[in-house]
């Protein structure tokens, strides 16, 4: 599969999910996709195929917690929210993301 430009860089999906959940509202997977697309002005598109494995892995690692609940349309969905551990993880990932982008920006500038 060739890289498309709206593919999310590997490893950043967790960061995006954590960032999305940091506001404190619990969200289901579909809402998380929608949120990321909307906020990024459709620049980023989350592949469903990556989203759910990522969410479940994050759940295993204790960054997010999941529970069944009702949507506004009274449908059953699995809602995710951030844990304290997830918050810490977000801080770390944000920091390394900043370092990465700064590094990349510098290289682009001088190379």
């Amino acid at each position: 599969m060739g890289a498309k430009k709206n593919d999310i860089l590997q490893g950043t999906l967790a960061l995006l999910i954590l960032r999305t959940l940091v506001a404190g509202k619990r969200m289901h997977g579909y809402a998380i996709t929608a949120h990321i697309q909307r906020v990024s002005d459709q620049l980023l598109r989350v592949e469903e195929g990556s989203l759910y494995p990522a969410l479940h892995r994050m759940e295993q690692q204790g960054w997010v917690r999941a529970e069944w609940g009702q949507t506004e349309k009274n449908r059953e969905a699995r809602f995710y929210s951030l844990t304290a551990k997830g918050r810490k993880q977000l801080m770390q990932e944000e920091e390394s993301w900043t370092r990465l982008t700064e590094g990349v920006a510098r290289v682009m500038r001088y190379a």
């Binding site: 289901h28 579909y30 592949e47 469903e48 195929g49 759910y52 479940h56 295993q60 204790g62 449908r75």
Partner: protein, 871 residues
């Protein structure tokens, strides 16, 4: 934290219930697809199209479900469960193999756990008292005799002057008659020095300890009773407190009931009462009667306590040079004092069951090797499909683990039963009532199972997964046996060797027993009934009365029809019992002569006639108050009085108040009175016939002594209505009981050895059968080319027997090395007894022939054409 644990819990749940996980996942993912479809529909797509587009966007739905699901399952855990399931399936297909392995392991682990539970209870676990490791046994050491009993004033001095003990106390026992019932009931009473309960750190379950007044001479009477007596007499209710027992016609109020677990000094004890240390009879420093114990202060080592008590006693020696100067003090851990006698036996047994387990494991390893070889093809297929070596090995090990766990579970059940049998057989073993299966034993069995897995499984797993085997796929089913299975046969050889070693040990012990039975003891133990009649130490103050009492009982016994002789003795002949003392002659001996050390026995003059010990010279002594006579045995006269006229000399024990100097009246034949397994030591008999606690009555009967028991009991009751008569037992039973531990050890070792031999034979049979099955083609070919069936039989038989022979040789070598471990337990045979070892080899070879013959014959019966067609 809590969340983390929850996640772990769910993970396991997920593994165990994949179905549930699947449906939860599907619900979640299908929600997503539906939302997406609705959005598309809202954007103007038709319903059907929208759903399809949404699905398409989602990608391969099933793949997504699986990928996500993988995130939820801990990989290692799932593969373990998968391996286990596969193992169960595989084992279920070969029930004979599975059952054999599980039973073998169960016997190995079961026997091991049972013996370990005994070792744990008797040797390893701390004594059941609080801080039991600080309890020590004390004794006064006198170079002249082995009497460790401590004199009351000395006990009090030690307690007062030391700096290393919290408290020191002591006890002695008497058998009493309790007279409130219809017949006198025998109760065992421990008379205790102050601070008794304080030293043990145990408080009465009900009521209270003795008050200081009760511990003073002339103070109020009081007894503490055992839980058992309380139940028997008062139904176990609390209203026992304040009730009275009539001990020797003295009314004694019960002030407390001890916990059921507290049975000290031994499990026969019924009650405790104070022995006043300020009584007139407790003031002499010359005679001691207290068995003495102390509790160390926290942090005090044994060495410190020894040094401290030694210096205390040295000071006492300066203060009382006449009585204390030559006395020392001994200190040893209580546990050591209790179990020292059985330590070696238990470790020997443990060693043998460990060997048994090792044999079981070796056996299983050989079986697994054969099984792995049969599965070569399956394993090769797996390799070629890309399985890693570790995953195949893990699969093989899981199979063994499943077997080992099943074996351990069954083994625990066996161990439970076995330790019950053990408790019943070894009822005289110290601390035997503490033997039980607890969590420690369960853990131990599990550890055994895991060790067994590694032992049995690792090697076959390594061999089976050797890479080059992958190449064997090319050979397909046409297995050509190139190697002659040296590994399997080595394993079988090891089993045979270990089994030979165990069997040799058991054989040597059995032969010792036989030898012991053949020994002529020098006295006649048949047709002798023994019994006790209770009396108290206080009564011995009136020696005349005590003599008359004893004489009256002996006389009336002799007058009974069916009784030919009656005597009294302080110890039973034939039982291991030592009372060694240093003697001197009043007439003097040359300095150069050896020290006169002799076993000392106190007997009534009729003892020799009753026990049929022949009189060699002189007369039988007469006991009377003024002059006491002694008899010596042949070895005493030979060792110390050779060349002198022994009769008429006076023997004295310097410094003893108990035995006054006595004139040698006669010489009797040597008898093995201190134990059948010991040469008769030089012995002095003090003719003494006064009743005192512990006196044994010996009655020679014409018929079966047991049948006289009731008649004798009634007869004695007529003369002594206030005394209880108990423990009516034939002398031969006493003697045989005294070898109970010895016998138990022998029986168990023989049992383990026979199990080991059968396991080794099963191993030989299994390995040879396997060999026959893989070499069918070769055998078929040879038969087809005209080989004789007898040649085939001979070939396989030779293979099996050569392994067995090598195993025997190795086993004999091992026996030569480890045989000396047993040498202390052997009697009349050396650890390298040729007859025993020859017998062992003969047995093992005979069984090996049987085990090899069956597969060999099966090989010879093959139908060549059929075999060649099939392969």
């Amino acid at each position: 934290m809590v969340w983390g644990r929850m996640a772990w819990y769910w993970r396991i749940w997920n593994v165990l219930r994949p179905g549930r996980l699947q449906s939860d996942l599907e619900r979640e993912l299908s929600f997503h697809v539906r939302e997406r479809a609705e959005e598309l529909q809202a954007g103007g797509m038709s319903g059907e199209h929208a759903v399809r587009a949404a699905r398409q966007a989602f990608g391969n739905y099933t793949a997504q479900v699986e990928r996500t699901r993988d995130m939820d399952i801990n990989d290692g855990l799932e593969s373990l469960v998968r391996n286990l399931r596969q193992a169960m399936r595989g084992l279920g297909k070969t029930p004979a193999f599975t059952v054999t392995v599980i039973l073998t392991l169960a016997i190995g682990i079961g026997a091991n756990s049972a013996v370990f539970s005994a070792i744990d209870a008797v040797l390893l676990r701390a004594s059941p008292f609080p801080n039991g490791d600080r309890l020590v046994k004390l004794g006064q050491v006198n170079p002249r005799n082995r009497d460790a009993f401590v004199a009351p004033p000395r006990l009090e001095d030690w307690n007062r002057l030391n700096r290393t003990f919290q408290a020191i106390t002591g006890y002695y026992t008497e058998d009493e008659s309790e007279l409130s019932g219809e017949l006198p009931e025998k109760l065992k009473r421990a008379l205790i020095a102050p601070r008794f309960l304080q030293v043990w750190g145990i408080a009465p379950e009900l009521g209270r300890d003795f008050s200081p007044q009760e511990e003073h001479f002339g103070g109020p009477n009081a007894v503490l009773i055992t839980d058992r007596l309380c139940r028997r007499r008062f139904g176990g209710s609390a209203n026992a407190i304040g009730k009275n027992l009539r001990i020797n016609n003295i009314s004694m109020p019960i002030v407390g009931v001890m916990p059921a677990s507290f049975l000290f000094p031994d499990r026969d004890v019924d009650l405790w009462s104070p022995s006043p240390m300020d009584s007139p009879y407790s003031q002499s420093r010359e005679t001691g009667w207290f068995t003495t114990f102390g509790r160390l202060k926290p942090g005090v080592t044994l060495e410190q306590a020894r040094a401290n008590l030694a210096s205390v006693q040295a000071n006492l020696g300066r203060q009382f040079p006449k009585t204390d100067a030559r006395i020392g003090a001994s200190v040893e851990p209580l546990k050591e004092a209790t179990v020292a006698g059985v330590r070696q036996s238990l470790w020997i047994l443990f060693g043998s069951v460990s060997l048994l387990l090792l044999i079981a494991c070796t056996n299983i390893a050989a079986l697994l090797l054969s099984r792995a070889a049969e599965r070569q093809h399956e394993i090769s297929v797996r390799f070629s499909l890309g399985a890693s070596r570790s995953s195949v090995a893990a699969q093989l090990l899981t199979e063994v683990l499943a077997l080992a766990l099943a074996g351990a579970a069954l083994g625990l059940a066996i161990a439970g039963e076995a330790s019950r049998v053990f408790r019943a057989l070894a009822k005289d073993l110290p601390r035997v009532e503490e033997i039980r299966l607890d969590s420690g034993i369960v853990l131990y069995s599990l550890a055994c199972a895991i060790a067994a897995t590694l032992l049995c499984g690792i090697f076959p797993a390594i061999r089976a997964t050797r890479r080059n085997l992958a190449g064997s796929l090319a050979q397909a089913g046409r297995s050509q046996v190139s190697s002659r299975n040296p590994v399997q046969f080595t394993l079988v050889g090891v089993q045979v060797a270990l089994a030979v070693m165990l069997l040799a040990g058991a054989g040597l012990l059995l032969r010792s027993f036989q030898e012991l039975g053949r020994v002529s003891p020098g006295f006649d133990a048949e047709h002798v009934l023994t019994f006790h009649m209770n009396s108290s130490w206080a009564e011995t103050g009136d020696q005349k009365g005590a003599r008359q009492r004893l004489e009256r009982v002996l006389d009336s016994l002799r007058s009974m029809p069916g009784v030919t002789a009656a005597a009294a003795s302080m110890s039973l002949p034939g039982l291991p019992d030592q009372y060694q003392m240093e003697l001197n002659t009043v007439e003097g001996r040359a300095e150069t002569e050896p020290k006169m050390l002799a076993q000392s026995r106190a007997v009534s003059p009729t003892y020799f006639a009753t026990m049929r010990i022949p009189l060699l010279a002189g007369d039988t002594c007469r006991d009377n108050l003024n002059t006491s006579g002694v008899m010596v045995n042949h070895s005493f006269a030979n060792a110390y009085l050779a060349g002198r006229a022994a009769i008429g000399l006076h023997l004295a024990q310097p410094g003893s108040a108990f035995f006054p100097p006595g004139e040698i009246r006669g010489i009797v034949g040597d008898a093995r009175e201190s134990g059948m397994d010991r040469e008769p030591p030089p012995t002095v008999y003090w003719c003494y016939s006064a009743l005192q606690p512990g006196t044994y009555f010996l009655v020679r009967t014409q018929g079966d002594p047991k049948s006289m028991a009731e008649t004798i009991r009634r007869k004695v009751h007529e003369i002594e209505p206030r005394r209880s008569v108990y423990d009516l037992t034939p002398l031969v039973d006493h003697i045989s009981d005294s070898y109970a531990e010895n016998r138990l050890r022998t029986i168990l070792l023989a049992f383990f050895a026979l199990t080991a031999v059968s396991l080794a034979c099963v191993g030989l049979y299994g390995t040879l059968s396997y060999l026959v099955s893989v070499r069918q083609r070769e055998v078929g070919l040879r038969l087809a080319l005209g080989a004789l069936r007898t040649q085939i039989v001979r070939q396989f038989l030779a293979q099996g027997l050569s392994v067995a022979l090598l195993g025997c040789a190795a086993g004999l070598a091992l026996t030569a090395v480890f045989g000396r471990l047993l040498s202390g337990m052997l009697y009349g045979v050396s650890a390298w007894d040729a007859a025993t070892l020859g017998g062992v080899v003969a047995i093992v070879m005979a069984v090996s022939i049987l085990a090899s013959l069956l597969p060999a014959i099966r090989a010879a019966r093959l139908e060549p054409m059929q075999v060649l067609r099939e392969q």
